[in-house]
Symmetry: C2
Protein backbone atom coordinates (compact mmCIF):
# COMPACT_ATOMS: atom_id res chain seq x y z
CA UNK A 1 0.00 0.00 0.00
CA UNK A 2 1.38 3.41 -0.95
CA UNK A 3 1.52 6.21 1.56
CA UNK A 4 -1.53 8.50 1.35
CA UNK A 5 0.49 11.50 0.22
CA UNK A 6 1.43 9.72 -2.97
CA UNK A 7 -2.21 9.79 -3.97
CA UNK A 8 -2.12 13.47 -4.84
CA UNK A 9 0.98 13.55 -6.97
CA UNK A 10 1.57 15.31 -10.21
CA UNK A 11 -1.08 15.50 -12.86
CA UNK A 12 -3.75 13.59 -10.98
CA UNK A 13 -4.45 17.02 -9.53
CA UNK A 14 -5.54 18.22 -12.94
CA UNK A 15 -8.47 15.92 -12.85
CA UNK A 16 -11.74 17.03 -11.24
CA UNK A 17 -12.07 13.64 -9.56
CA UNK A 18 -9.74 11.26 -7.89
CA UNK A 19 -10.07 8.09 -9.92
CA UNK A 20 -10.48 5.47 -7.24
CA UNK A 21 -9.08 2.80 -9.49
CA UNK A 22 -5.89 4.51 -10.47
CA UNK A 23 -5.10 7.74 -8.66
CA UNK A 24 -4.59 6.22 -5.25
CA UNK A 25 -1.68 4.30 -6.70
CA UNK A 26 -0.36 6.61 -9.36
CA UNK A 27 3.31 7.28 -9.62
CA UNK A 28 4.95 9.62 -12.09
CA UNK A 29 5.32 7.34 -15.06
CA UNK A 30 1.87 5.90 -15.22
CA UNK A 31 0.41 9.34 -15.05
CA UNK A 32 2.09 10.26 -18.30
CA UNK A 33 0.19 7.42 -19.90
CA UNK A 34 -3.07 8.42 -18.26
CA UNK A 35 -2.76 12.03 -19.37
CA UNK A 36 -2.69 11.01 -22.99
CA UNK A 37 -5.71 8.74 -22.57
CA UNK A 38 -8.16 10.91 -20.70
CA UNK A 39 -11.18 12.44 -22.34
CA UNK A 40 -14.28 13.93 -20.76
CA UNK A 41 -17.81 13.54 -21.97
CA UNK A 42 -21.11 14.74 -20.55
CA UNK A 43 -24.38 12.90 -21.12
CA UNK A 44 -27.86 14.40 -20.78
CA UNK A 45 -30.47 12.78 -18.51
CA UNK A 46 -31.88 9.66 -20.11
CA UNK A 47 -29.12 9.47 -22.69
CA UNK A 48 -27.71 5.99 -23.25
CA UNK A 49 -24.02 5.60 -22.50
CA UNK A 50 -23.75 2.07 -23.86
CA UNK A 51 -26.20 -0.67 -24.75
CA UNK A 52 -25.68 -4.29 -23.75
CA UNK A 53 -23.81 -6.04 -26.55
CA UNK A 54 -22.37 -2.87 -28.04
CA UNK A 55 -18.69 -2.39 -28.56
CA UNK A 56 -17.40 -0.92 -25.34
CA UNK A 57 -13.97 0.46 -25.97
CA UNK A 58 -13.47 2.64 -22.96
CA UNK A 59 -13.46 2.48 -19.21
CA UNK A 60 -14.40 5.51 -17.16
CA UNK A 61 -14.90 7.13 -13.80
CA UNK A 62 -18.03 9.07 -12.96
CA UNK A 63 -17.11 12.70 -12.30
CA UNK A 64 -20.55 14.12 -11.55
CA UNK A 65 -24.12 12.89 -11.75
CA UNK A 66 -25.68 9.44 -11.57
CA UNK A 67 -25.56 6.67 -14.16
CA UNK A 68 -27.64 3.50 -14.00
CA UNK A 69 -26.63 0.04 -15.15
CA UNK A 70 -29.63 -2.08 -16.07
CA UNK A 71 -31.00 -5.07 -17.94
CA UNK A 72 -34.21 -5.27 -19.89
CA UNK A 73 -36.21 -8.33 -20.91
CA UNK A 74 -37.90 -8.56 -24.32
CA UNK A 75 -41.28 -7.66 -22.84
CA UNK A 76 -39.89 -4.53 -21.21
CA UNK A 77 -39.41 -5.67 -17.64
CA UNK A 78 -36.33 -3.86 -16.38
CA UNK A 79 -33.99 -4.38 -13.46
CA UNK A 80 -31.34 -1.94 -12.46
CA UNK A 81 -28.18 -3.76 -11.40
CA UNK A 82 -26.00 -0.90 -10.34
CA UNK A 83 -26.12 2.78 -9.53
CA UNK A 84 -22.93 4.60 -10.53
CA UNK A 85 -22.19 7.62 -8.39
CA UNK A 86 -19.26 10.07 -8.55
CA UNK A 87 -15.88 8.29 -8.31
CA UNK A 88 -17.41 4.91 -9.28
CA UNK A 89 -15.69 2.96 -12.00
CA UNK A 90 -17.45 1.89 -15.18
CA UNK A 91 -16.16 -0.67 -17.63
CA UNK A 92 -14.84 -4.14 -17.97
CA UNK A 93 -11.19 -4.50 -18.82
CA UNK A 94 -10.65 -7.60 -20.93
CA UNK A 95 -14.06 -7.54 -22.56
CA UNK A 96 -14.88 -5.73 -25.78
CA UNK A 97 -18.66 -5.73 -25.40
CA UNK A 98 -20.90 -4.29 -22.73
CA UNK A 99 -22.82 -6.83 -20.66
CA UNK A 100 -25.48 -4.35 -19.51
CA UNK A 101 -27.16 -1.15 -20.59
CA UNK A 102 -25.77 1.99 -19.00
CA UNK A 103 -27.88 5.15 -19.03
CA UNK A 104 -27.43 8.61 -17.60
CA UNK A 105 -29.99 8.97 -14.80
CA UNK A 106 -29.16 12.62 -14.29
CA UNK A 107 -26.76 14.75 -16.24
CA UNK A 108 -23.51 12.77 -16.05
CA UNK A 109 -19.91 13.60 -16.77
CA UNK A 110 -17.50 10.72 -17.32
CA UNK A 111 -13.74 10.80 -17.42
CA UNK A 112 -12.99 8.15 -20.00
CA UNK A 113 -9.87 6.14 -20.85
CA UNK A 114 -9.58 4.06 -23.99
CA UNK A 115 -9.80 0.40 -23.09
CA UNK A 116 -6.69 -0.91 -24.87
CA UNK A 117 -4.13 1.44 -23.33
CA UNK A 118 -5.89 1.08 -19.98
CA UNK A 119 -5.45 -2.68 -20.19
CA UNK A 120 -1.79 -2.17 -20.98
CA UNK A 121 -1.50 0.06 -17.91
CA UNK A 122 -3.17 -2.68 -15.90
CA UNK A 123 -0.63 -5.24 -17.12
CA UNK A 124 2.32 -3.00 -16.39
CA UNK A 125 1.18 -1.56 -13.09
CA UNK A 126 0.12 -4.29 -10.67
CA UNK A 127 -0.97 -1.75 -8.05
CA UNK A 128 -3.73 -0.52 -10.34
CA UNK A 129 -4.89 -4.07 -10.92
CA UNK A 130 -4.91 -4.74 -7.20
CA UNK A 131 -6.91 -1.62 -6.55
CA UNK A 132 -9.37 -2.63 -9.25
CA UNK A 133 -9.64 -6.11 -7.73
CA UNK A 134 -10.46 -4.57 -4.35
CA UNK A 135 -13.10 -2.33 -5.89
CA UNK A 136 -14.59 -5.23 -7.80
CA UNK A 137 -14.74 -7.37 -4.68
CA UNK A 138 -16.52 -4.53 -2.88
CA UNK A 139 -18.98 -4.27 -5.74
CA UNK A 140 -19.56 -8.00 -5.60
CA UNK A 141 -20.34 -7.77 -1.89
CA UNK A 142 -22.74 -4.93 -2.60
CA UNK A 143 -24.41 -6.92 -5.38
CA UNK A 144 -24.88 -9.81 -2.97
CA UNK A 145 -26.42 -7.54 -0.36
CA UNK A 146 -28.76 -6.38 -3.08
CA UNK A 147 -29.73 -9.96 -3.85
CA UNK A 148 -31.04 -10.31 -0.29
CA UNK A 149 -33.04 -7.15 -0.77
CA UNK A 150 -34.51 -8.27 -4.10
CA UNK A 151 -35.21 -11.83 -3.06
CA UNK A 152 -36.50 -11.52 0.47
CA UNK A 153 -37.34 -8.01 1.59
CA UNK A 154 -40.81 -6.47 1.65
CA UNK A 155 -41.59 -3.30 -0.31
CA UNK A 156 -41.32 -1.19 2.84
CA UNK A 157 -37.97 -2.72 3.73
CA UNK A 158 -36.72 -2.20 0.18
CA UNK A 159 -37.54 1.50 0.18
CA UNK A 160 -36.11 1.92 3.67
CA UNK A 161 -32.91 0.16 2.61
CA UNK A 162 -32.44 2.45 -0.37
CA UNK A 163 -33.08 5.55 1.71
CA UNK A 164 -30.68 4.28 4.39
CA UNK A 165 -27.96 3.81 1.78
CA UNK A 166 -28.47 7.30 0.40
CA UNK A 167 -28.56 8.74 3.92
CA UNK A 168 -25.32 6.97 4.83
CA UNK A 169 -23.63 8.27 1.72
CA UNK A 170 -24.85 11.79 2.45
CA UNK A 171 -23.71 11.61 6.05
CA UNK A 172 -20.24 10.45 5.10
CA UNK A 173 -19.90 13.12 2.40
CA UNK A 174 -21.01 15.99 4.58
CA UNK A 175 -19.49 14.86 7.90
CA UNK A 176 -22.80 15.01 9.71
CA UNK A 177 -22.96 14.80 13.49
CA UNK A 178 -23.85 11.23 14.42
CA UNK A 179 -27.38 11.16 15.78
CA UNK A 180 -28.38 14.34 14.00
CA UNK A 181 -30.93 14.41 11.21
CA UNK A 182 -29.77 13.77 7.66
CA UNK A 183 -31.21 15.58 4.64
CA UNK A 184 -30.55 14.77 0.99
CA UNK A 185 -32.04 14.95 -2.50
CA UNK A 186 -33.22 11.88 -4.32
CA UNK A 187 -31.37 12.35 -7.58
CA UNK A 188 -33.55 9.82 -9.33
CA UNK A 189 -37.17 9.43 -10.42
CA UNK A 190 -39.69 7.06 -8.88
CA UNK A 191 -39.27 4.92 -11.97
CA UNK A 192 -35.54 4.52 -11.39
CA UNK A 193 -36.18 3.65 -7.74
CA UNK A 194 -38.73 1.05 -8.82
CA UNK A 195 -36.32 -0.43 -11.36
CA UNK A 196 -33.63 -0.62 -8.74
CA UNK A 197 -35.82 -2.20 -6.06
CA UNK A 198 -37.78 -4.62 -8.23
CA UNK A 199 -41.07 -2.82 -7.57
CA UNK A 200 -43.57 -0.71 -9.53
CA UNK A 201 -43.68 3.07 -9.32
CA UNK A 202 -47.07 2.90 -7.61
CA UNK A 203 -45.69 0.74 -4.82
CA UNK A 204 -42.68 3.02 -4.41
CA UNK A 205 -44.98 6.00 -4.11
CA UNK A 206 -47.30 4.30 -1.63
CA UNK A 207 -44.46 3.11 0.60
CA UNK A 208 -42.84 6.54 0.64
CA UNK A 209 -46.19 7.96 1.70
CA UNK A 210 -46.48 5.32 4.41
CA UNK A 211 -42.97 6.03 5.74
CA UNK A 212 -43.81 9.74 5.82
CA UNK A 213 -47.12 9.07 7.58
CA UNK A 214 -45.25 6.99 10.18
CA UNK A 215 -42.69 9.72 10.78
CA UNK A 216 -39.73 7.68 9.55
CA UNK A 217 -38.93 10.31 6.93
CA UNK A 218 -39.99 13.85 6.06
CA UNK A 219 -40.70 14.50 2.39
CA UNK A 220 -40.31 18.08 1.16
CA UNK A 221 -41.58 18.16 -2.39
CA UNK A 222 -41.18 14.77 -3.99
CA UNK A 223 -37.40 14.71 -4.22
CA UNK A 224 -36.10 16.04 -0.92
CA UNK A 225 -35.87 13.68 2.03
CA UNK A 226 -35.07 14.35 5.66
CA UNK A 227 -34.31 11.46 7.98
CA UNK A 228 -34.92 12.54 11.57
CA UNK A 229 -33.58 9.32 13.09
CA UNK A 230 -31.23 7.18 11.08
CA UNK A 231 -31.37 4.19 13.43
CA UNK A 232 -35.12 4.12 13.09
CA UNK A 233 -34.83 4.04 9.32
CA UNK A 234 -32.17 1.33 9.47
CA UNK A 235 -34.48 -0.75 11.66
CA UNK A 236 -37.22 -0.42 9.01
CA UNK A 237 -34.74 -1.67 6.44
CA UNK A 238 -34.48 -4.96 8.32
CA UNK A 239 -30.69 -5.01 8.14
CA UNK A 240 -28.46 -6.56 10.70
CA UNK A 241 -26.85 -3.75 12.64
CA UNK A 242 -23.39 -4.73 11.31
CA UNK A 243 -22.26 -2.90 8.22
CA UNK A 244 -24.99 -0.29 8.34
CA UNK A 245 -23.65 1.73 11.24
CA UNK A 246 -23.32 5.42 10.55
CA UNK A 247 -19.88 5.79 12.14
Amino acid sequence: MLAPDLARKASCEDCPIRHRAVCAHCEGDELQVLEGMKSYRTYTPGEPIVWAGDDFNFVASVVTGVAAMSQTMEDGRRQMVGLLLPSDFLGRPGRAHAAFDVTAATSVTLCRFERRPFEALLRETPAVGQRLLEMTLDELDAAREWMLLLGRKTAREKISSLLAILARREASLSQQIPGGEIAFDLQITREAMADYLGLTIETVSRQLTALRRDGVIVLTGSRHVTVPDYDNLAAEAGDDADGTQLT
Copy 2:
Protein backbone atom coordinates in the same frame (compact mmCIF):
# COMPACT_ATOMS: atom_id res chain seq x y z
CA MET B 1 -1.68 -14.60 -21.32
CA LEU B 2 0.37 -17.74 -20.78
CA ALA B 3 0.27 -20.60 -23.23
CA PRO B 4 -2.17 -23.34 -22.21
CA ASP B 5 0.55 -25.94 -21.74
CA LEU B 6 2.02 -23.95 -18.89
CA ALA B 7 -1.15 -24.59 -16.99
CA ARG B 8 -0.24 -28.19 -16.24
CA LYS B 9 3.30 -27.69 -15.04
CA ALA B 10 5.04 -29.22 -12.12
CA SER B 11 3.28 -29.83 -8.85
CA CYS B 12 -0.06 -28.43 -9.90
CA GLU B 13 -0.55 -31.92 -11.24
CA ASP B 14 -0.50 -33.26 -7.72
CA CYS B 15 -3.68 -31.44 -6.95
CA PRO B 16 -7.04 -33.08 -7.69
CA ILE B 17 -8.33 -29.86 -9.16
CA ARG B 18 -6.96 -27.16 -11.33
CA HIS B 19 -7.28 -24.04 -9.23
CA ARG B 20 -8.79 -21.59 -11.65
CA ALA B 21 -7.32 -18.69 -9.74
CA VAL B 22 -3.75 -19.83 -9.69
CA CYS B 23 -2.94 -22.89 -11.75
CA ALA B 24 -3.56 -21.36 -15.12
CA HIS B 25 -0.74 -18.96 -14.41
CA CYS B 26 1.60 -20.98 -12.24
CA GLU B 27 5.27 -21.01 -12.94
CA GLY B 28 7.87 -22.99 -11.04
CA ASP B 29 8.63 -20.65 -8.21
CA GLU B 30 5.13 -19.77 -7.16
CA LEU B 31 4.27 -23.42 -7.02
CA GLN B 32 6.84 -23.96 -4.33
CA VAL B 33 4.98 -21.43 -2.26
CA LEU B 34 1.63 -22.99 -3.00
CA GLU B 35 2.82 -26.46 -2.06
CA GLY B 36 3.63 -25.34 1.44
CA MET B 37 0.28 -23.62 1.86
CA LYS B 38 -2.18 -26.21 0.68
CA SER B 39 -4.40 -28.19 2.99
CA TYR B 40 -7.51 -30.20 2.25
CA ARG B 41 -10.63 -30.38 4.33
CA THR B 42 -13.93 -32.15 3.78
CA TYR B 43 -17.21 -30.86 5.21
CA THR B 44 -20.36 -32.93 5.72
CA PRO B 45 -23.70 -31.83 4.23
CA GLY B 46 -25.16 -28.96 6.19
CA GLU B 47 -21.89 -28.23 7.97
CA PRO B 48 -20.99 -24.55 8.24
CA ILE B 49 -17.72 -23.58 6.57
CA VAL B 50 -17.72 -20.01 7.88
CA TRP B 51 -20.29 -17.68 9.42
CA ALA B 52 -20.66 -14.07 8.38
CA GLY B 53 -18.46 -11.96 10.65
CA ASP B 54 -16.16 -14.82 11.64
CA ASP B 55 -12.44 -14.66 11.19
CA PHE B 56 -11.80 -15.99 7.74
CA ASN B 57 -8.15 -16.76 7.45
CA PHE B 58 -8.07 -18.90 4.37
CA VAL B 59 -9.04 -18.82 0.74
CA ALA B 60 -9.96 -22.02 -1.06
CA SER B 61 -11.01 -23.78 -4.21
CA VAL B 62 -13.89 -26.24 -4.24
CA VAL B 63 -12.57 -29.69 -5.17
CA THR B 64 -15.80 -31.68 -5.06
CA GLY B 65 -19.37 -31.04 -3.93
CA VAL B 66 -21.46 -27.90 -3.65
CA ALA B 67 -21.16 -25.09 -1.11
CA ALA B 68 -23.70 -22.32 -0.69
CA MET B 69 -23.02 -18.72 0.23
CA SER B 70 -26.02 -17.10 1.92
CA GLN B 71 -27.35 -14.34 4.13
CA THR B 72 -29.95 -14.64 6.85
CA MET B 73 -32.12 -11.93 8.40
CA GLU B 74 -32.91 -11.93 12.13
CA ASP B 75 -36.33 -13.41 11.52
CA GLY B 76 -34.92 -16.30 9.56
CA ARG B 77 -35.54 -15.19 5.98
CA ARG B 78 -32.62 -16.47 3.96
CA GLN B 79 -31.21 -15.62 0.55
CA MET B 80 -28.52 -17.62 -1.13
CA VAL B 81 -26.09 -15.31 -2.92
CA GLY B 82 -23.80 -17.82 -4.57
CA LEU B 83 -23.51 -21.47 -5.38
CA LEU B 84 -19.92 -22.71 -5.25
CA LEU B 85 -19.26 -25.62 -7.57
CA PRO B 86 -16.02 -27.54 -8.21
CA SER B 87 -13.17 -25.22 -9.27
CA ASP B 88 -14.92 -22.14 -7.88
CA PHE B 89 -12.93 -19.84 -5.66
CA LEU B 90 -13.96 -19.00 -2.12
CA GLY B 91 -12.55 -16.20 -0.04
CA ARG B 92 -11.78 -12.56 0.03
CA PRO B 93 -8.13 -11.58 -0.10
CA GLY B 94 -7.61 -8.38 1.86
CA ARG B 95 -10.42 -8.95 4.31
CA ALA B 96 -10.10 -10.82 7.59
CA HIS B 97 -13.79 -11.43 8.20
CA ALA B 98 -16.36 -13.30 6.17
CA ALA B 99 -19.14 -11.17 4.71
CA PHE B 100 -21.56 -14.08 4.23
CA ASP B 101 -22.34 -17.50 5.65
CA VAL B 102 -20.91 -20.39 3.69
CA THR B 103 -22.36 -23.86 4.21
CA ALA B 104 -21.72 -27.24 2.66
CA ALA B 105 -24.83 -28.08 0.59
CA THR B 106 -23.55 -31.56 -0.19
CA SER B 107 -20.40 -33.22 1.05
CA VAL B 108 -17.70 -30.71 0.06
CA THR B 109 -13.94 -30.92 -0.17
CA LEU B 110 -11.99 -27.68 -0.21
CA CYS B 111 -8.37 -27.13 -1.07
CA ARG B 112 -7.41 -24.31 1.28
CA PHE B 113 -4.59 -21.80 1.34
CA GLU B 114 -3.86 -19.62 4.33
CA ARG B 115 -4.91 -16.08 3.56
CA ARG B 116 -1.72 -14.23 4.52
CA PRO B 117 0.72 -16.16 2.34
CA PHE B 118 -1.85 -16.19 -0.44
CA GLU B 119 -2.01 -12.40 -0.28
CA ALA B 120 1.76 -12.30 -0.47
CA LEU B 121 1.63 -14.53 -3.54
CA LEU B 122 -0.93 -12.16 -5.00
CA ARG B 123 1.37 -9.20 -4.44
CA GLU B 124 4.38 -10.94 -5.93
CA THR B 125 2.67 -12.60 -8.86
CA PRO B 126 0.59 -10.13 -10.85
CA ALA B 127 -0.68 -12.88 -13.15
CA VAL B 128 -2.54 -14.50 -10.26
CA GLY B 129 -4.09 -11.17 -9.34
CA GLN B 130 -5.17 -10.61 -12.93
CA ARG B 131 -6.72 -14.03 -13.09
CA LEU B 132 -8.54 -13.36 -9.84
CA LEU B 133 -9.75 -10.02 -11.17
CA GLU B 134 -11.14 -11.73 -14.25
CA MET B 135 -12.90 -14.35 -12.14
CA THR B 136 -14.31 -11.68 -9.84
CA LEU B 137 -15.61 -9.66 -12.78
CA ASP B 138 -17.29 -12.80 -14.12
CA GLU B 139 -18.86 -13.40 -10.74
CA LEU B 140 -20.06 -9.82 -10.65
CA ASP B 141 -21.71 -10.25 -14.05
CA ALA B 142 -23.33 -13.45 -12.80
CA ALA B 143 -24.56 -11.70 -9.65
CA ARG B 144 -26.10 -8.97 -11.79
CA GLU B 145 -27.85 -11.53 -13.98
CA TRP B 146 -29.18 -13.01 -10.79
CA MET B 147 -30.51 -9.61 -9.71
CA LEU B 148 -32.71 -9.57 -12.82
CA LEU B 149 -33.97 -13.01 -11.91
CA LEU B 150 -34.72 -12.08 -8.30
CA GLY B 151 -36.26 -8.71 -9.06
CA ARG B 152 -38.31 -9.32 -12.15
CA LYS B 153 -38.82 -12.96 -13.09
CA THR B 154 -41.89 -15.07 -12.31
CA ALA B 155 -41.59 -18.26 -10.29
CA ARG B 156 -41.78 -20.38 -13.44
CA GLU B 157 -39.06 -18.33 -15.10
CA LYS B 158 -36.90 -18.54 -12.00
CA ILE B 159 -37.06 -22.34 -11.86
CA SER B 160 -36.49 -22.59 -15.60
CA SER B 161 -33.48 -20.31 -15.36
CA LEU B 162 -31.91 -22.40 -12.63
CA LEU B 163 -32.51 -25.63 -14.55
CA ALA B 164 -31.11 -24.05 -17.71
CA ILE B 165 -27.94 -23.06 -15.86
CA LEU B 166 -27.50 -26.55 -14.47
CA ALA B 167 -28.24 -28.07 -17.87
CA ARG B 168 -25.67 -25.83 -19.54
CA ARG B 169 -23.06 -26.74 -16.98
CA GLU B 170 -23.82 -30.44 -17.42
CA ALA B 171 -23.68 -30.17 -21.20
CA SER B 172 -20.32 -28.42 -21.13
CA LEU B 173 -18.88 -30.92 -18.66
CA SER B 174 -20.00 -34.01 -20.52
CA GLN B 175 -19.56 -32.76 -24.10
CA GLN B 176 -23.17 -33.47 -25.00
CA ILE B 177 -24.33 -33.46 -28.61
CA PRO B 178 -25.96 -30.09 -29.25
CA GLY B 179 -29.68 -30.60 -29.68
CA GLY B 180 -29.67 -33.86 -27.75
CA GLU B 181 -31.38 -34.28 -24.42
CA ILE B 182 -29.48 -33.34 -21.26
CA ALA B 183 -29.78 -35.27 -18.01
CA PHE B 184 -28.39 -34.28 -14.63
CA ASP B 185 -28.89 -34.62 -10.89
CA LEU B 186 -30.07 -31.73 -8.78
CA GLN B 187 -27.40 -31.82 -6.10
CA ILE B 188 -29.44 -29.64 -3.81
CA THR B 189 -32.68 -29.82 -1.82
CA ARG B 190 -35.88 -27.96 -2.63
CA GLU B 191 -35.07 -25.70 0.27
CA ALA B 192 -31.72 -24.68 -1.22
CA MET B 193 -33.40 -24.04 -4.57
CA ALA B 194 -35.99 -21.88 -2.84
CA ASP B 195 -33.30 -19.94 -0.97
CA TYR B 196 -31.43 -19.37 -4.19
CA LEU B 197 -34.47 -18.24 -6.18
CA GLY B 198 -36.18 -16.13 -3.56
CA LEU B 199 -39.20 -18.48 -3.39
CA THR B 200 -40.73 -20.91 -0.91
CA ILE B 201 -40.23 -24.66 -1.13
CA GLU B 202 -43.92 -25.13 -1.95
CA THR B 203 -43.67 -22.83 -4.95
CA VAL B 204 -40.52 -24.58 -6.14
CA SER B 205 -42.28 -27.92 -5.90
CA ARG B 206 -45.40 -26.72 -7.70
CA GLN B 207 -43.47 -25.10 -10.53
CA LEU B 208 -41.35 -28.22 -11.05
CA THR B 209 -44.57 -30.21 -11.25
CA ALA B 210 -45.98 -27.73 -13.75
CA LEU B 211 -42.86 -27.87 -15.94
CA ARG B 212 -43.05 -31.68 -15.88
CA ARG B 213 -46.77 -31.61 -16.72
CA ASP B 214 -45.99 -29.31 -19.68
CA GLY B 215 -43.24 -31.60 -20.94
CA VAL B 216 -40.46 -29.04 -20.48
CA ILE B 217 -38.60 -31.44 -18.19
CA VAL B 218 -38.80 -35.09 -17.14
CA LEU B 219 -38.42 -35.75 -13.42
CA THR B 220 -37.14 -39.18 -12.38
CA GLY B 221 -37.45 -39.37 -8.62
CA SER B 222 -37.22 -35.92 -7.10
CA ARG B 223 -33.59 -35.22 -7.85
CA HIS B 224 -32.96 -36.41 -11.40
CA VAL B 225 -33.88 -34.10 -14.27
CA THR B 226 -33.92 -34.74 -18.00
CA VAL B 227 -34.27 -31.81 -20.37
CA PRO B 228 -35.58 -33.08 -23.74
CA ASP B 229 -35.22 -29.73 -25.49
CA TYR B 230 -32.83 -27.16 -24.09
CA ASP B 231 -34.06 -24.31 -26.29
CA ASN B 232 -37.56 -24.86 -25.01
CA LEU B 233 -36.35 -24.63 -21.42
CA ALA B 234 -34.30 -21.51 -22.20
CA ALA B 235 -37.41 -19.91 -23.70
CA GLU B 236 -39.30 -20.62 -20.46
CA ALA B 237 -36.51 -18.89 -18.57
CA GLY B 238 -37.28 -15.65 -20.38
CA ASP B 239 -33.63 -14.98 -21.17
CA ASP B 240 -32.41 -13.14 -24.18
CA ALA B 241 -30.90 -15.71 -26.52
CA ASP B 242 -27.45 -14.14 -26.12
CA GLY B 243 -25.28 -15.66 -23.46
CA THR B 244 -27.47 -18.68 -22.90
CA GLN B 245 -26.59 -20.54 -26.08
CA LEU B 246 -25.47 -24.12 -25.56
CA THR B 247 -22.56 -23.92 -28.00
